[in-house]
Symmetry: C2
Subunit: 512 residues, 2 copies
Amino acid sequence: MDVATGSLGQGLPIAVGVALAGKRLDGLPYHVWALCGDSEVAEGSIWEGIDKAGYYGLSNLTAIVDVNRLGQRGETEYGWDLEVYRRRFEAFGARAVVVDGHDLEQVDAALAEARSATERPTVILARTIKGKGFSEVEDRDGWHGKPLPPDMAERAIAELGGVRHLTVETRRPESGTAARPAAPARPAAAVEVPTYRRGDEVATRKAYGDALSALGARPDVVAMDGEVSNSTYADEFARAHPERFFEMFIAEQMLVSAAVGMSVRGYVPFASSFAAFFTRAYDFIRMAAISRANIRLAGSHAGVEIGQDGPSQMALEDLAAMRAVQGSTVLYPCDANSAARLTVAMADLEGIVFLRTTRGGYPVIYEPGEEFAVGGSKVVRASDGDRVALIGAGVTLHGCLAAAEELAAAGIPARVIDLYSVKPVDVDTLRAASAVTGGRLVVAEDHYPEGGIGAAVMEALAGEPRPPRVAHCAVRGLPGSGRPDELMEAAGISPRHIAAAARSLLDEEVRR
Amino acid sequence: MDVATGSLGQGLPIAVGVALAGKRLDGLPYHVWALCGDSEVAEGSIWEGIDKAGYYGLSNLTAIVDVNRLGQRGETEYGWDLEVYRRRFEAFGARAVVVDGHDLEQVDAALAEARSATERPTVILARTIKGKGFSEVEDRDGWHGKPLPPDMAERAIAELGGVRHLTVETRRPESGTAARPAAPARPAAAVEVPTYRRGDEVATRKAYGDALSALGARPDVVAMDGEVSNSTYADEFARAHPERFFEMFIAEQMLVSAAVGMSVRGYVPFASSFAAFFTRAYDFIRMAAISRANIRLAGSHAGVEIGQDGPSQMALEDLAAMRAVQGSTVLYPCDANSAARLTVAMADLEGIVFLRTTRGGYPVIYEPGEEFAVGGSKVVRASDGDRVALIGAGVTLHGCLAAAEELAAAGIPARVIDLYSVKPVDVDTLRAASAVTGGRLVVAEDHYPEGGIGAAVMEALAGEPRPPRVAHCAVRGLPGSGRPDELMEAAGISPRHIAAAARSLLDEEVRR
């Protein structure tokens, strides 16, 4: 299975995801082998990985740790103290086998033992000597990741026995067992998108859970969560399809790795947690993009809107981080009907797809049948005489609507755009809004000012012959704990602030 | 010590940083106590933390794990299996003590034992019952993080023995021992900023190492690295001031936590790794901002410029992520003199400060005496007749200079701005450039297009009466492996592309 693992500590947890698919979903007799360096065993993600391998009894997984003692800049933390590694891996639920990594009989015996039935993963701890066989570099520091100069290379080849041509015959997997994707045997039932009545107050995270559960009619859809499924509403899927739900507990790096592992086996994974906690796995998400993995991440409880739980639980930099991931899609619906539709659409998207959902319940504003294209937007309120456009997504869209009412009462017609597709963004609709309003745009977002929805709008239109003016309502200070409406007011993203920002664009023009 | 730990698995590693300061720097007899939940023990960062506590023999650290069995949505991974926890913590180098967390004598004995001398940290594993003492919720699921309704609260108080007023006398620390900041006893020597000769080719990461080493004259400056100090050049500090250098091995979450822990003890920490690998600790950086910690992060090997090592090692989303951190400062110098000056300036900045450095050597363009204000920029080339401004930072500044030469040869005078302070950004200089050039700006960056230097420029000027047009050269596809110049050419950020972007701004105007 091809995955990118150049950032250390990622190979093993991703292999755990592949092995979990093999054991619980594929039902195929393949074995997953993960090669690890000794330096990378210092990464916490290695322990998240082997812990879950032990918890799920993944006897179809073997990690081989190459303990050569030398890291990039000197000796590793534990050098050749194989017993430290053995104790740790055993304590985390693995069968550990220590071998001399240069003794082929020991290696062969260990690999055979790894395939013998247990209810545990196996970790082969191979004591090796870096550069073995070439006396000029063998076990010496300072040769990490460096090619040998040509003359040394010549001497190395000579000392290793000269140029040889070895062909190793391997047993090919039986036809189909390693096929990708793993075609689920059961036929897919139709996915019925859940719908909501206009005006009802429903949290978008609830719509996510409803839609994910409905998506479970597709046998290739799997879900995992980081011990918050009763908050993200992934628990609806867990109840409906327990055999395809994987509890990863509070280990977000492993959560994303499991999704990557299942993605490379051809499944359609949805991983959920609080949006803030996906920052814990940012390196894994970045690397998943390099792997060309197709994973769907649903981050709930975004922004100051969450209220009382305070800033540690508030995602306020997630849109910037997720937009910057290569080839990503970033969605942020404002109501339950759009959230449900977009959740279902996510199943067929490629790359890293991030859905941001809101904690509180807000009125459903769309009719059940409405469609939501990825890369699109909705002009929720418009007239030919619009003097300003209010652009929001998620919770601030409701603020934009209230601000438009306030402006209308003062004789100022305002367009309102629901920018639910933050990336890719609907350039045409933004361009049209800029043209109609004389380039007066207000962007309101429950996010820090850098790199979020404001930047998405600016980046989309900065190359225009006449770029718009953008008044930007965003969270600028460090928020505290309070009621959602109090915090949005304090942050400067309430309807009052959005209307004031619109007025400022109009007022300044009068003064000029 | 006040630190924010609402994101799970962060309290212990930060406490390790505080204890490391206590043992290795303060030389004070304080003991550090970290309270952990059982759910958070699933986070890999807990194991990075206790591993380093064991490695550094932090007998002045005690973690107390409240094993109440119930997480937010049901039973934790290991419930009340205290032996699993004991084996793991012991294997990771701690002394583990299992107690009944409701038996005050056992708790008292364990706390006393924790203070007895060993060369290891202590972990007290306290078996507890969630909600103990109130029969309606005791050991029951579904009460995580929920206040009791008023009537239940009344009954709980009654069952717990009624309203009581308890005053516990604690022994105050001896005067000064808990003082913050820990005033280092040695007087500071003057910091001599290293300088470089104009035209010499020097990597900015090398200038970072030189300047950091010089900063070591200040006894409050400490440094730590994630086993890549021979690449980040933090090894220069390690050689000059070994007693204030801390090797964190390949564990970036612990790397940042150590910096946070030392920051709250009043030290001035500089943590370094490849810029790409700080994504591994993004949640820790976000939380450090909430802690109001003052930490300095130096990320080397940014962008496609690193060449052969491939995309896993290329930071291409770091500027977006770091800019979005509340109150952060983001610096990206293009030459060795500015890099050295800015490194020294970082020591006196508050909050999260990120310095991005480049792998390759590029010509020194500034004189040794030149000053670089944080929040400033340098107009490197300018005339009153400039028709376009080329804005770069780091490696692309050199591309902007080459492009300006090319444009000059074609009769197009171009201004060049070194935007070394990406956040805060120099709005005045950008505004002036926009005014002089008729709003024609080219931004070139070795970063994905979202949220980086382009967004910084756009966000700065989007509210202007007439915002500029921005032509944006950034890395849009997934890069591969190759020579730096090949990859910059393939990504569309070479001098040729920058000049073409400038021409496109001028040509389109002609066509209109």
